[in-house]
């Protein structure tokens, strides 16, 4: 009797180990299927339009003209602008939390607020932007005498910059905090002011980490969908100024995929998704490599 029980537990044990290994393989299968699905479904577009897809500046689904250039440019335009707007804030907060703020309670409060900023769902950012930010931009555009679209690159970049700040701060405050105390104390011992310590010691020391944090935030900005879709104006032309409505890779998919019926249209939208995936994956991998090198170093 006793042996039998042991046998069943032994079988259970073997089964459990197999299940664990199976879960590992399943992850690989899921990711492979994922990529395969995207490539397979964009095959029609890859074959018919080929490389000119990337450079064609026209996107007119009703005439069967598909070019990704307006969206690639729109994505880079909004994301770079968002990053530029966010940098002064994210650097300041990283330095403030990582170096100056010694009061634990205040530090916790600021960090909780950062979490809150990161936790607000993107559709709510979009809704708020549409209801509060866009009317303000319309007023600004009317006083400037520009066509008052309201929605457009500027609105999208402002919302995006707000959304990505927590991502660069998470890493930024940690790498600034990681600067060796003996270096900092040596500098202070030589009579350096906090400003000089940060400028000559802390920032050079944590430069790669700060770069990685902002790179990953940039990746977030590129892949962000809902908030951008709601405030960018959804116009399929290359934007000429920051006041223009435009579209990004993610926003055009969100906007057109549900209504697309022509096979080439669907396939082209999926190819846009593939491009988006490739860009964000490359950015994430570079960011992770830097972070890993960092943790080994320190």
């Amino acid at each position: 009797m006793k042996i039998m029980i042991n046998l069943t537990t032994h079988k259970k044990n073997q089964l459990f180990i197999k299940t664990l290994k199976g879960a590992g393989y399943l992850t690989l299968i899921i990711l492979t299927l994922f990529l395969f699905t995207l490539i397979f479904n964009s095959f029609l577009s890859l074959k018919t339009i080929s490389l000119s897809f990337l450079f064609n500046t026209n996107w007119q689904p009703n005439t069967g003209n598909f070019g990704a250039a307006p969206f690639i440019i729109g994505t880079l335009f909004t994301s770079i602008l968002a990053l530029l707007i966010s940098i002064p804030f994210s650097l300041s907060i990283s330095i403030y939390i990582g170096y100056f703020l010694k009061n634990k309670k205040r530090k916790n409060t600021l960090e909780t607020l950062m979490d809150l900023l990161a936790g607000i769902p993107s559709v709510i950012y979009g809704f708020w932007g549409l209801m509060v930010l866009v009317p303000i931009i319309i007023k600004l555009q009317t006083t400037l005498g520009i066509i008052p679209y309201g929605v457009g690159i500027l609105a999208a970049s402002l919302i995006l910059s707000l959304m990505i700040i927590p991502y660069s701060v998470t890493l930024g405050k940690d790498v600034i905090n990681l600067v060796p105390t003996d270096l900092v104390e040596a500098a202070i011992g030589l009579g350096a002011t906090p400003y000089e310590v940060i400028k000559h010691i802390a920032i050079p020391y944590s430069l790669s980490g700060l770069f990685a944090g902002h790179l990953m935030a940039f990746g977030r900005a590129i892949s962000e969908t809902m908030a951008v879709t709601m405030v960018i104006g959804n116009r399929n032309f290359i934007p000429k100024s920051i006041m223009d409505p435009a579209n990004t890779l993610a926003s055009v998919i969100a906007n057109e995929f549900g209504e697309a019926s022509a096979p080439l249209h669907i396939s082209s939208l999926i190819e846009l998704g593939l491009i988006l995936l490739i860009i964000t994956t490359i950015i994430n991998i570079i960011g992770k490599i830097i972070v890993k090198a960092y943790t080994i170093e320190t």
Partner: protein, 278 residues
């Protein structure tokens, strides 16, 4: 001597300006955050009443109404995602932490990290290709799969990280008592990682609860009350998106109330998850 003094004053002044600038920029970020919360609370609180939870959305032109179908839809979709992602994610996490020598361990870790970085809209496309195209209709199940795939890496990572913290002696003690591997993991290791895993799961749920992009071409939305996951189904983020883009004042009010409700839940979950770790 005099030269030195002015030099020092200059440096101190520079330092002061620098410090104040940093402080101003840091606290300036609180303004938009406060504005967002202020508008959501101000516009949402009046409509976050009993009607919001028990009534269906009102047709155009009528005032009142609630978000019953979206609330039910959201909980059904997220519930099913959790049922898929939590056990599977834990298995993957245990595999990552325990089978370090296995030939696909590093590859699996890379796959989990890649999956984590995939833009949310892509999950929508893939779930559409897997479950909507073959069956020819939008469904709650396809949305659940998309969200489960998003949650999977978070649960797996949380499990792996918590397992790493467990001292090896605990495992040895369990073996010494005659427990086999399965019993050791189930009765000793996983219970002692409970806090870390729970917090990871809660964060995962709060993330996918607000996700909209993967639902656009999977759950799609539904104007009627629906409990059938094989059919199109409404969800809170979808409702906010659809109502926000509409020109009707009444719908905007429901969208504000939904936003407030969603933020309360998301915030509540993240607070709970933080307290769990403590």
């Amino acid at each position: 001597m005099k030269l030195n003094k002015t030099n020092l004053e200059k440096r101190l002044l520079k330092n002061k300006i620098f410090y104040e600038t940093i402080k101003i920029f840091s606290y300036a970020l609180l303004i938009p955050l406060a504005l967002i919360l202020f508008y959501i609370i101000k516009n949402g609180i009046a409509y976050l009443n009993l009607d919001f939870f028990i009534k269906m959305p009102a047709p155009v032109g009528e005032t009142g109404g609630g978000a019953l179908s979206a609330i039910i839809g959201s909980f059904l979709i997220v519930g099913l995602s959790g049922l898929i992602a939590i056990p599977l994610g834990m298995l993957i996490g245990v595999f990552l932490a325990e089978f370090k020598e296995h030939k696909i361990n590093n590859l699996t870790r890379l796959a989990v990290e890649t999956l984590q970085g995939i833009p949310s809209i892509i999950y929508g496309i893939v779930a559409y290709a897997w479950f909507v195209m073959p069956f020819g209709k939008f469904s709650g199940i396809s949305a659940s799969i998309a969200l489960a795939l998003m949650m999977l890496p978070m649960v797996a990572k949380a499990t792996e990280e918590s397992l790493k913290m467990i001292p090896y002696t605990l495992k040895e003690a369990s073996y010494a008592l005659g427990a086999n591997y399965y019993t050791t993991i189930k009765k000793v290791i996983l219970p002692s990682c409970q806090k870390g895993i729970t917090s990871g799961v809660l964060i995962g749920i709060s993330r996918i609860l607000g996700e909209t992009a993967p639902l656009l071409f999977t759950a799609f939305g539904n104007a009627f009350l629906n409990f059938n996951m094989a059919k199109p189904i409404n969800a809170l983020p979808l409702l906010i998106y659809n109502y926000a883009s509409s020109p009707y004042q009444e719908w905007h009010q429901i969208a504000w109330a939904s936003s407030l409700f969603l933020i309360i839940i998301v915030l509540g979950l993240s607070i709970i998850s933080k307290n769990v770790i403590k």
